[in-house]
Structures are given as C-alpha cells and as structure tokens.
C-alpha cells in the first residue's frame, strides 16, 4: 500500500511541534514516546502500519479546536481516530501526521426520551449509547459487529451499518446533528435535536466522509423504542439460487424482516465446527428475524414459512424459546471467529443488488479455484451487503498478495453487477486505489471539491479515500 512520502520539513520540526502540542494540552494528553505510539501505528487493518509523529487525546471540543488550529498553522496533517476498529485503515497514520483520538471524550451529555434523542461525545462506544437509554426501553439502532468497541466518531466517519439496516437504516439515517471542528479550528453545529436541514444538508455529506472534512466531537443521535420482542427462523436450502429466490419472495410479499442473514456452505461448515449451533448440512442457510408482539411475530413468521416451503427447504427451524433464538444466532455471530480458527482471513465488504446474488456467488466460487484460495460467504441478504472471507496463510510468502488480488477481483465484480466497493467499512486506504473502478474522473472531482471547501489545505486524513495520483495536486498545494 503506497503512502505519500513523509514531509521532511515536518519530521525535522518534530521537537517544536511536540512542544507546541504540550503547550496547548495537559501533559497526559500528548503521546510522543515511540513505545506508547505503537498503539496508534494501525487500526483493525493490521497489515499496514506506520508510527505517527505524535498522538493527542483531548478531553474537550475546545482542546480539539486548539490542536487543529495549531496543526493548521504548522501545516501538519491530522488523522482522526475513534476506537481504532476500522477494517479499512481509516485511522492509519503517516509518519508526518498527528493522530487525534477522541477516546477520552465519551460522556453522555443529554438523554431526552420525549424527543427521542441522546447527545453524546463521540468517543463513546456504540453499544454504550444503547446502554445509556435501554433502561427506559430505547436503543440506538446501527449495530456494526464491532459495536462493543467501536466509537460513535468512527461510526459517523464511516457511516457504519450493521445487521439490522433493512429496517432501521445505517448511521446517516439515525444521526440528527453533530458538533464538528474544522481543520482551521472553527467549531460548527450541523443539525441538532430537530429534523432536516434549513439549507444544504451538510450533515449528510459529513456522515461517511471518513474524517476528511472535520473532527466530530459531539453527536445528536436518534433513539428508538425497543420492539416488544424478536424471533428468528432458520432455513436451509440446497442451492444459493433457491435461497436467493426465497429472500426476494419474502420481500415481495410485503414483509419487512428486521434482518435476513445468508451463509454459504463453507461458512456454515466452519461455524458449525466452531460453535456447534446445530446448523443443517446444506448449501445455503438463511436466518430471518422479525419483530413485534408474540402474536405479530406469529403472523409474520407464518407467512415467511409458507413462502419458504414453496422453495423446498432442506431444513426449517422456527425458534420457540429465547434459548433456541440464541442458538440460531450463535453460529452466525461467531462466523469471523470460526474463520480465524481455521486460518488468517481477509474480510471484504462489497454490496450487490440482491437479485445478482446467485450469479455473484457462482463467480466467486470459480475465482476461488483460479486464485487457489478458499472463500466463505456471509451476507446481509436483505440489503445486499456481502462479506466474503478469503482464507490465506500470512506466513506463506505470496499468500497475502494473492489474497489481495482475489479481494480486488471480487470488489470489481460487485461494481460490475451494479453494486459498490464498500457497504459499511469505508474506503480508507484499503479500497482507495479501486475507487476508479466505480467512479469516473468527474465523479471523484466532485467529491474532492467538497473537501476543498471544508479543508482547503488537505490536512485532514489526506492520504485516504482518493487514489493518490488523483489527489496529488491538491495535497501538494
């Protein structure tokens, strides 16, 4: 992965820059020791590492503003960091950059159940937002699988999704407003505890901008009343095509399940070996979950099961207890762990139109043979977001490169069938160089013009999202 060459002028001024940061922030908020900085050399995309110039951990919006004002004046790039769980390298530093982490800003500032929002500092973890409101019967809907660890700051930067998007949407659909610091230290509020923008919807473009437009320090998040209950049903089919047709039929029938998860045979087998969830031996497995009161769940599941039966399922298991529901989800939720048990793996994140599912799975199977690497598919089938897991051996020379080439081929396929490179992980550095597969030059120019307005000197997270040769002129300016 290519990174822009470090700016020697910045490296030469390291001592002065550290002194400047120390003058702005309390002593314990500036990290300069190389051993301590190791913690910031990468995020969850661990294949790529680089020590930053320094890391800072401010406690207030004012401190964030002071750091950015200083870095702006000094011309030093800043890489924002939430909890460091990005799978796309979104918070990977360069050696001439300052990591600005918001992890110490994790307070709940306001809960308002009548207006159904919570205002938090963005270092707060996703799951602990729900934790702050569930006592009153509410929850925060976006649920990325890293929700125990990931921070709201990163969720906003990447517009994170989760398993329940079909019904509840992703971060952007649940974000009411932000307090954000621009690169020059200006603090702006976009949105707030009311709905929709009076002018241009700047909040919309900030969400998912991968920390390139500003650093979000506070957020107004929409919270929802918890449903009365939820129950999954498990279905096994003897082909991917049939499972795909069943998904389309359920949706066409006017039922909106809260989640539809799809697993293919390699994934089923690995999960079964690992978690012993009692999954059937079949080609494709669906977990469909619906919500509501017991009677409403019965009504929806009866319709879903009737549809499933028309597709000759090899297994059909409706949960009748909390215990069984947990068991049905157990295998799916341990999919990544199960894969890690077998081998090193790379998790992809492309999205395809649901109708292209059988065709894409077939092609991935063929490519698996061509590249000589195994792949398992787990898939949010309701919304088309695929997570193919490519297995490789990191100790075997050439395997990582082969795996990356295979991954890129799958993502190209996603775009070819009408989908996209990333459904919920973000571009970061990981998919940066594939952006031209999906976008024409004018499409990328239009996006970069937005960054020009928010961050004219291109100092915020500059080496991400856009291929380096495309952004070169702007970064050098």
């Amino acid at each position: 992965m290519e990174l822009p060459p470090a700016d020697a002028r910045i490296l030469a001024r390291r001592a002065a820059i550290l002194a400047g940061l120390s003058a702005i922030l309390p002593r314990d908020a500036v990290i300069a020791d190389p051993h301590e900085l190791k913690a910031y050399e990468c995020d969850a995309l661990t294949a790529y590492r680089c020590l930053p110039l320094a890391a800072v951990l401010p406690r207030t919006t004012d401190e964030v503003a002071a750091v950015l004002r200083f870095a702006h004046a000094e011309g030093v790039p800043v890489v924002p960091r939430g909890a460091g769980t990005s799978l796309a390298g979104g918070s990977m530093p360069t050696s001439d950059s300052i990591i600005l982490g918001v992890a110490r800003m994790n307070a709940v500032l306001q809960t308002d159940f009548d207006n159904r929002f919570v205002r938090v500092q963005t270092g707060r973890t996703n799951l602990s937002v729900t934790g702050a409101v569930e006592g009153e019967g509410f929850f925060y809907a976006p649920d990325p699988s890293s929700q125990l660890a990931c921070a709201i700051a990163g969720n906003i930067a990447m517009n994170s999704g989760g398993a329940h998007c079909l019904k509840y949407g992703v971060t952007t659909n649940n974000l009411l407003g932000v307090r954000m610091v621009l690169m020059d230290g200006t603090v702006v509020d976009l949105g707030g505890p009311w709905m929709d923008a009076p002018g241009l919807d700047l909040l919309a473009v900030v969400c998912g901008s991968e920390g390139q437009l500003g650093i979000v320090t506070e957020a107004w998040l929409r919270i929802l009343p918890k449903p009365e209950g939820a129950r999954p049903v498990l279905m096994g089919f003897d082909s991917n095509e049939v499972a795909g047709a069943c998904v389309a039929d359920i949706i066409r029938a006017g039922i909106l399940p809260v989640a539809i998860e799809f697993m293919d045979r390699p994934c089923i087998r690995a999960c079964e070996d690992f978690a012993h969830a009692g999954y059937p031996d079949c080609e494709a497995l669906l977990i469909v979950e619906v919500e509501g009161s017991p009677a409403e769940i019965d009504e929806q599941l009866a319709r879903i099961l009737a549809i499933a039966r028309t597709h000759n399922p090899v297994a059909l298991r409706e949960s009748t207890s909390e215990e069984e529901s947990k068991k049905i989800w157990l295998g799916r939720k341990s999919a990544f762990g199960a894969m890690g048990n077998i081998n090193d793996y790379m998790c992809l994140d492309g999205t395809i139109p649901v109708s292209a599912l059988p065709q894409v799975l077939k092609r991935i199977g063929e490519m698996s043979a061509e590249f000589g690497l195994d792949v398992a598919n787990v898939f949010h089938a309701g919304d088309g977001n695929m997570h193919p897991l490519i297995l490789f051996d990191a100790n075997k020379p050439g395997d990582l490169e082969r795996c990356e080439a295979f991954g890129a081929a799958i993502l190209r396929l996603c775009v070819e069938v009408g989908g996209c490179l990333t459904g919920e992980h973000g571009v970061g550095i990981e998919k940066r160089d594939l952006m031209e597969v999906q976008f024409a030059p004018a499409d990328l120019q239009a996006q970069m013009r937005v960054k020009d307005v928010f961050d004219p000197k291109w100092l915020l997270n500059p080496a991400k999202v856009f291929p380096l040769h495309v952004s070169a002129g702007r970064r050098a300016a």
């Binding site: 009548d114 999704g161 009076p198 700047l202 989908g419 571009v427 020009d452």
Partner: protein, 372 residues
Amino acid sequence: MRPSDEAELADILRGADAPLSVRGGGTRSAPATGAVLETGGMAGLVLYEPGALTLVARAGTPLADIESILAGEGQRLAFEIPDMRGLMGTSGVSSIGGVIADNASGPRRVQAGAARDFLLGVRFVDGRGEVVKNGGRVMKNVTGYDLARLMAGAQGRLGVLTEVSLKVLPAPETQATLVARGLSPSEAVAAMARALGSPYEVTGAAHRDAGGEAETMLRIEGLAGSVAYRTGRLRDMMGRGWEVEGAETSAARWRGVRDVAEFAGRAGSVWRVHLMATDAPEFLAAVQAEDGAPALLDWGGGRIWLCLPDAGDGGAGRLRGALARLGGHATLVRAASDVTAAVRHPEASAVAAISDGLMRAFDPKGLFRGAA
C-alpha cells in the same frame, strides 16, 4: 429549454452563462428568475426490482407514474410525499426529481425517515456542465462522499438531477388512527411523545387546531392482525378519550395533514417550522400571542405549519426570534409577493460560509443562484 437527455442538458449547462430557472413539475415552489429549463423531457423508469426494494427513474418522471407502478406490486415510497398544489396554488405534475431536490417528506417522516433517507443514488449535471454520479442502487453503500444526500434538499442549487435511485417499501395492508379531541398543545405534544416512544410503531402523530376544534391523531399501519393488536394496546396505554377510526377515514385524514389542506384556501404567509417537539407549546405561545394564527403540528410537534398574516415580514421576526432562543429553523413556504422575509432560515456564519463555498464549487457561473 427542454433537454431530452443528460448529454443535452450537460451541453446546455456548459454553454450557459446567465441564471436559469430549473423546473421539474413546477408544483413545489415559486419559479426562480432566469431562462426556464425544464427537466420533464428526461423521463422514464430505468429499473424496478420489487424483490430488492429498488427503483431507478429519470428525474423528470412524473411522481404519479412511479406511484402507480409501485402500487401494482404492493409497494410505495414510504416518506409520504406532500402534494403541495392546493397549498401553493400551482398546477402541473410533480416530478420525482423535484421531490428529491426538495427533500419533500410528509407525516411518516417521524418514523420512517425523509426523502433523503430513501435516496440510494443520483446522477446530476453540475453548473460546470459536468455529469456526476454518486451512490448507486444498493441499500448499503459508503463508497466515497455522500453527494446524493447533499443533493436532496439542495433545491437545485448544486446541479440538476437527471436520475434518482430509491429504496421503496411494502405498502401496509391497512391502517387505523386514534383520535382525541380538545387537547391543548402541551397536552397533545405530551400525548404524542408517549405514543411515539411506545413499541407500537406509530407512523403519524399530528395535532390540528382549527377554530377551537382541536384534534390529536396517532396512526398505526401494517398487517391487519398487527394493526388491530397495536391499536388496542396503544389505546389502553393512552387512557380515556381516544377513539379508533378505520382505514378509510384514517387515510383521508392523513392526506389532509400531509398536504396541509386546511391552509390551502386561506390567505396568509405559510411557514414550516422544524424544532424540538417539546418546544412546540412554548413556541406557539410566543408566535400566536397576538392573533391566534392557525397551526398544524406534525411529527409529534417537531414540525409546525403556521399561517400568519401576509404583512410586513410575514411574521419572520417573531418566528425566528423565538427559534433563536429555542433552536430549530423556519422556512417561508408561501407568501404574498410583498412579504419581505428570507425564504430560508439564516445559518450561522461559519455554516453559511461552507454552503456558499459548495455552491461556488459546483456552480461557479452562478447558474442556479436564482433558485428560490
């Protein structure tokens, strides 16, 4: 000018050097100044996959065409698009591009989301004449910046939409509405907050007060058995004084709320105010003090439609003064030509600078600056 496709539109915009008045169906807002550029020539369905809940259409496609195609599959656009013709005194045919450019959303927005929340992707031509695509036709897509949502609600100030891609949803089997009469605004807002905070999936919460006949209404939609169950539970929870209305009455009632029907024939400046729902009673007390102007509360109180006398600033000072204290924003939707108020709510200077910068970046020739 009436381009028949995107390439022709791009040619026109590349060559243009004076402000244009870009028009979809011409139903939603007062026309801008400048040579008229109509988008109706760029019409037609591009793709509809009911099993994937996805629809792609050219921007000039009449909304009614899209709605009837969706209805054929038992699906709909869930954000409940207001028909503004009665209120605005306009005629013509609403286009899907205009709907998206205006982020036009009705009562269900409180639960299901706004137009922008159902937007999966766009194609547009910016003021430089460059064709830009953003987003796509899949539900989860974080590839690059979300310019599609930025275009939603931009009212054509960044470019002319040529194609939109939307998430559609199953239309519910049936609906019912709970109605209570005679509640004060603060009682109504408290009741609506309770209902919206319940697990019964209330998809509409509105309160109208026309001439002392206040009505508060709560809508439930879905499968028949589920609607019966949730309506019963909600009624139990709300206590005495709530009556149940069946599907037909309910549907007519919510069309009225959606289209702000009660202000349609009435003279005056019509304002749309978005604020924190629980601030609605205090806000109303502040702005209605002198003349008891009629108000329609939607979104549990989070959106207020007001009709104020068409004089001076149309009430802008009063409204925006109250909002400066409470937070929120007010848009002047309709007014007599001599009303002096700004249509859009003023933004904080740092935010206005960003918006201005974006407009200059996408429209350096100022072609869309005349957009109302």
